[in-house]
Structure formats: structure tokens, C-alpha cells
Symmetry: C3
Amino acid sequence: MTHSADRASAAGHGLAHQDILSVNQFNTDMLGAIFALTDEMRSTVRASGGCDLLRHHVLTCLFYEPSTRTSASFIAAMERLGGSVIPITQGVQYSSVAKGESLPDTIRTVEQYSDAIVLRHPEVGSARVAAEAASKPVINAGDGAGEHPTQALLDLYTIHNELGTLDGLHIAMVGDLRFGRTVHSLTRLLLQYDVKLTFVSPEILRLPLDLMNAVRDAGLPVRETYSVADVIGDVDVLYVTRVQKERFTDLAQYDEAKGFYNITPDLMRDAKSRMVVMHPLPRVGEISDAVDTDPRAAYFRQMENGMFIRMALLAAVLGKA
Amino acid sequence: MTHSADRASAAGHGLAHQDILSVNQFNTDMLGAIFALTDEMRSTVRASGGCDLLRHHVLTCLFYEPSTRTSASFIAAMERLGGSVIPITQGVQYSSVAKGESLPDTIRTVEQYSDAIVLRHPEVGSARVAAEAASKPVINAGDGAGEHPTQALLDLYTIHNELGTLDGLHIAMVGDLRFGRTVHSLTRLLLQYDVKLTFVSPEILRLPLDLMNAVRDAGLPVRETYSVADVIGDVDVLYVTRVQKERFTDLAQYDEAKGFYNITPDLMRDAKSRMVVMHPLPRVGEISDAVDTDPRAAYFRQMENGMFIRMALLAAVLGKA
Amino acid sequence: MTHSADRASAAGHGLAHQDILSVNQFNTDMLGAIFALTDEMRSTVRASGGCDLLRHHVLTCLFYEPSTRTSASFIAAMERLGGSVIPITQGVQYSSVAKGESLPDTIRTVEQYSDAIVLRHPEVGSARVAAEAASKPVINAGDGAGEHPTQALLDLYTIHNELGTLDGLHIAMVGDLRFGRTVHSLTRLLLQYDVKLTFVSPEILRLPLDLMNAVRDAGLPVRETYSVADVIGDVDVLYVTRVQKERFTDLAQYDEAKGFYNITPDLMRDAKSRMVVMHPLPRVGEISDAVDTDPRAAYFRQMENGMFIRMALLAAVLGKA
């Protein structure tokens, strides 16, 4: 829609009629307002399943690559607000697009039918291209190796919701810190808070230099280590991500690495009684199923928070909150 | 969700907050209550198209294999009750699942967004696995060669609705009785009623031994025959299914068999004036199109009953009926 | 549903409980009534996003081939009227249909769940076959090289809405006039008005003889030319379509042709100040992006009109307008 989001008022969420393209557009005041709104959404769903705030509103979910979790979450969010969805979650490649239509033309077409657009696209920067073409709000639901801001917001909200605060926390990120888009975005958001960060990864999957420098520039205490066992006793948040076999050229290295990053009930015995384990899911073995019943296992609640935060964001950009 | 469905109260449908996994969980009291509720749904749709009973409720339709008929029927049912649907009817194989996510993890994710889950899956037993993982009701919409209970319920309801009763009826099952999941499930439900059963099939597609023994153990009169002509004059219900060419190694046998199972206006002249012809559809030649205008042809009404019974079941498991 | 649409009352739209299969079923009285209704739909959406006219109504969108634009437009139309959609927009080929089900059987099944059916099918005449099978209204959303009447109606409505009238206008059709289904349908509708027509195309893509004769029989002034530059100064409407490379055997011919049909800001300087440029979209170079900001560029408004006209048509065939 516009690029003025960064200039949005620090009072309130400042999102009415704005795009959501990047985590960089949020300051702590806005985040606080969004979290308060998300809390309201949670209460509404708990009390009555939903409401009619976005009645007669239509959202286009335009997904150029499949993402069951993200699209389901946005669809649920819109429906629980009483709105409707045009799901274009497959086949775009076979239709207009196959005929060579440009992304701006597709965007300018679907915005004729809808009040906002959620876009998932494999190319970095596509969300910004879409937003420039659109006169309706565009929400970036992942643009390749670029950003996925609603994921970062739901992660941040989950920490806030589970532990009541962000300031003063010791947060460890675990796994593939080099390529993990969720880790990068969440880290950027955390730079605005008074937190201590520990990055736990195999050598070849360490956090990129520029991001590590940003952490240091923010003046936050930071450490790196190879093993979860090193930090499990001290952390408030253990944010776990997948370590993909494909990243390793030496499989012996992979097998060794795997052992360091498997969260088990045994490992959890060393953790604080009040802390949370998070994961953007899907997991493939990083967290043992036996941990699921541990009250500190927050990853499924994290999924539900994804719906709540998207409800808040939809209501906000549509000027209804 | 839980396994206590079998222990559900015999008074009322007993389905509130329960899963629907198998025909074995229903006794005649529950079936009577479900049919009464289905009658109400029919009246509501006839009078006004739908209602707001499930307003602000969200249903996930999670289909790991396509089934246009079943998914369309569940979507229509939810929408006519004023609720919304998250349709995950394709692409699951390309997304989280492709990344190796387990069925329980997928279920525990989508239940964060929705109030109930309809699951179609190619593997026997998958619905039970899903129900064990879920804290929300799971409805089995077909698990491979396993069960498809809502199909059996709509079949049973159709007989009840068309003929006003089940007791005292002579019901013939026709076609592929060996592999036909709908025949097996409907037969199991019928064991609880005072019916006479005739099984009409080619030799190589006869009803499995265990099911035939269950019929005999229930003390019901039962016969087997090769030809519809043998029974057409006496039956109240002719339940026809497809005979698939692929089942035959000897094509001459197939061609011979085909002739025995083709329902034509000519054959219908020998049938009672008050009886019904049913078919789970799709058909491919078993019933002549010329029979469609015969008032005894109930197979399209049977489809509509599928929507009504699913409305009743959704309302029931969501505790709204 | 029926074939009596042609006999529909000339007073009012005459569409209640009728099918929409062909542009031939509309006379100018009906078109006027439809346009008035479409204006109302526009006002409703502008004022409040939508209404509850079709609350508790269910529409099946049965698409045997993908068409993002058309299906999105129908889904939005139904949702803005407060109704719901069963989207069968992919996978039909893998499911019942793959099992050999006939189109009439599929139609008679899905109509059990819904109040109207929108059908897109690759075969000419399929919409009529569907309508004969159905007892609910069928709307043809494109049947191969056959018709796509709602596209023609939205085109006609756009001219009317942009210029306030149809009579007295000079309308030029540009591009592939030989195979372009939208050009053929719109031309047939225009025969009922007092317009002047110019057809602009390469030699091998000229308007078919029968249609040219129909224009002459209607007594309308008509011209043909190879170049847009010849007419740009005089037209009220420039209706541009794609010229597909595949149509040419001689690529030199294609390259030459391309230059004649590229709408640029430079070319637009010669156009009247009050005229409109239309395109059914997607475009692939026929209209320069630089034209988009020209107030005479109506092609995106044309898309929005697609939603408004489909709202009007859905309300009309469902007897609610």
C-alpha cells in the first residue's frame, strides 16, 4: 500500500491502512499496542469463538508457494473476525501467472475484489513490489529468504504472553542460525528489548556476522556455544529450530551435531521450572515428543498465538482496531 | 479427542465433544437421536437455507487425498450452520508434511485454529491416531480401507428417511461386496436392526467371511446370490456399488458379471412400487441414466442427506445440539 | 436449470431461477435492469463492504480448469452478499471425475449441497449440458471456445459505467479478433445498441466472417484496419486483447504486428480526453505500464466491475433481486 509505515505514530499500533512488510517497521510502543490487541483477540475467541469486527470484509490469501500452517492461520484469523477469504493457495502458477502476468498486475487485480492481501512468494522483495502496486494493505507472509514478519511477531508475543515480560530475559536460539529466517527476524525484534542472548549452533550454522554485529551494537550481552546443555540451566526461553541434513557436506559432522540439539525430558530436568521451549514447527526430531506434556513446552500454544496475532494485525490494518 | 465415545450416554446422541471414528460407536438409541437431529437440519435448510448455530465456529477439513464429494458435503454442512471452514484439501503433501511432520503434530497444529477437524487419510487407523493427538473432536472422513462412518450414517439415514423405518426391511447389497468400504460399514450398522439381508455379487467379490459371520451371529436372515434379477421383486432397498474391472483377472468373467448388475428401467419394472435404489456414487454404468427419473431412484437424495447428516454430526460434536 | 431464459419477461432482469449460459439470452431491457442492479451492488460495497442478501446461501464454484481471476471474482461476489462458497477449483480431475463420473452426475451431486453452480469447463457446450442436468441455476464461467457471458456483461457494464451510455459510441476492438472469446461475446451484445465498430487486427487474426456478417446485418457502421494509430483519435472505447505469438507461423509477421498494437502514453496523446482503454487481462505487453496512471485506463476498474456484476447476477438468479 504505502511505505509510510515506518513513519507511523508511536502512539497506538499505527497500522491502520498500512502494509506489514518487515519487522523493522515496529518499535516497542507499537509492539506493546499490538500485544494488547492480541490479548483482546484471545479473550474474544475464548469467550465466544469469534466476533463480527470484520464482517463484510474480504481478504485475499495469495500464496505462490504452499504453506499450510501460515495460510490456515490467516484464514482462521479472518473467519474468527467475521470476515471472508478468497483463498488463492495453489494454481496461481497455472493460471494468469502462467500466461506471463506480472506480480503488480495480479496484485492490482485481486485488490479489486478484496480489502487486504496476504502474500506468500518465493522471491525476496516481492512483498514490497506488491505493496507498491497495491492501494490496499499488503501483509508479507514470507518472501523467500527475506522476511516473514507475522511469524516474528507471534514468536515475540508468545514470549511476552508466557513469561509476562521481555525485559530481563535470557533467550537462547538453537539450531540453524545461519539460514533460519525466523531466528533472524525474532532476533531483530529482540534488539529493542533488554535481553541476554545465547546462540547455540554447529560451527557451520552460526548466526551471520551482520546480525551478530547488530546484537553487539545494541549493547546486549551475547554468547555463542555448540551445545544446548551449556545453557539449559539458565535460559528463560529456548527457541529451537530445525538443523537440516542438507546443510552438511560431512555427514559425520551432522550426526554429531544432531545430538547437541535434541531436546529431551532428560535435558529438561536441568531447565528452570519457569521457562518455555518454543519451535516454529514443523519439527523433525529436534524436540522429543515426550516433552510435549511438559507445561514448559509452548510450541503448540505458539501456533494458536499465530492466529491471535494475525487477528490483531488484520483488524489493525483494516482500521477496525 | 478421547476414546470414551463408546461409553457415551445412551440417552441422546451422546456425541458432545466426542470423536466420530467408527460405526461401532453407535447404538440404536444414538442413531435415533442423530436421525431426529438430521430431520431438524433438513427442515432448517428447506425453510431458510441454514442457520447460525455454529456461528464463529471454525472447522478444519484436512484431506490427505482428494474426495470432492465428501469435502464439498462437509463444507456445505458447516457453512449452512453459519460456521466457517479452513479447507486443507490439497497440497498438504507439499508443505509441512513434505518436511517430514508427523500426523499428530499436524493435527495438534491445526486444532489450534479450529473447533473440530474432519480428516481424510489414505492409511487405516490414521483417524484414531489423530483423535488421540487432538483435544478437539475429530471426524473420520475415510481412512483408507478402514472406516468412513459418516457415509454409513447417511446411507442408514436415507433408508430410514425414504421408507420411514429400518425394521422389517429386506435390504440387498449389490456389486463389489469384498472391497466395498461403504457396504461393510452399512452392514455393520444394520446388524442392530431387524432386517433381512441379501448379498448380490460375482463369486470373487463376495462379502468377507468375518462380516458374513457377524451377520449370522446377529441372527439376521441372510442369502447370497449372483444376480440382481433374483431379488429385485422382493427387496425394499437395493444398495448398488461399482464393480471395478481391475478386480478381475479374467475379463470374460468381468463382462459376464457386468450384465448381472446393471440396473435398468426394464429391471425396475419387476421391483416393488415402494422401494429405493441407492448408490454411494460415483457410478460408472451400474445404474442406467434412464432410471434417474424413477421416483424410487434415491441416490441423489442420498447425496443431499449426506449434507444433512453432517450438519447434525457437526452440531452434535460441537455441543450445540 | 431450464432453457426458458430466452422467454424471460422483458420487464425486469427476468433472471430469477434461470441459468446464465449465453449472451444471446439478454435483450436491452434485461441488460438495463442488470446494470441498475450492478450499480446498487457497487453502492453497497462502497458504503459497507457488503450485505446479507444471500445469507445462508451456498454457491458451488466448479472449475475444471484453473482461472484465478474468474473464480476469485465469483467467490468475492458471493461473500460480499453474505453467502458462502464451496470452492472446487482444482482436483476435480483427480477425484470423482477420475473415476469416470459424467458431468451431469457431478452436477446433480453438487447441486444437492448448494443453491447455484458456477461452472468452468474446457469443452464447448458443457454449460448447457450442466444446466439440463441441474434443477438449480447454472452460471457459465467459460466453456472452452464457447461462451463466457459474465465476462461480456462486465465489459458492457464497464463501458456503460465509464461513459454513461452505450448508444452513439465508437468502439474499437484490438488484437486477436479471430480467437478472442471476449471480443466475440462483447460484439454480440453490442449489436443491440447504436454503436460504431472498428476492428483492429493483423490480417490473420481478423474477426470471423459470421460475426462480421452479424454486425453488418445489424446495420451498424463498421470498419477494419491493421493499426491502432488509425483509430485512436476517434474512439470512445479501445478494447485491447492479447496477440499471442503462437498464432503466427511467420515470426517476422508477429514482430511487425506487435508494434501496431502496443498502447503507450505516446499513442494516448492522440486519444480523446474522454474515452476508455479496456483489457480483459492478463496483459503481456499490449498496454504499457506507463498508461496505468492515465485516468482513461479502465482495465483495473473493469476487474472490480466483474465482482459487482457477478453480485448482481447471483442475487438475480437466486431470486433475491
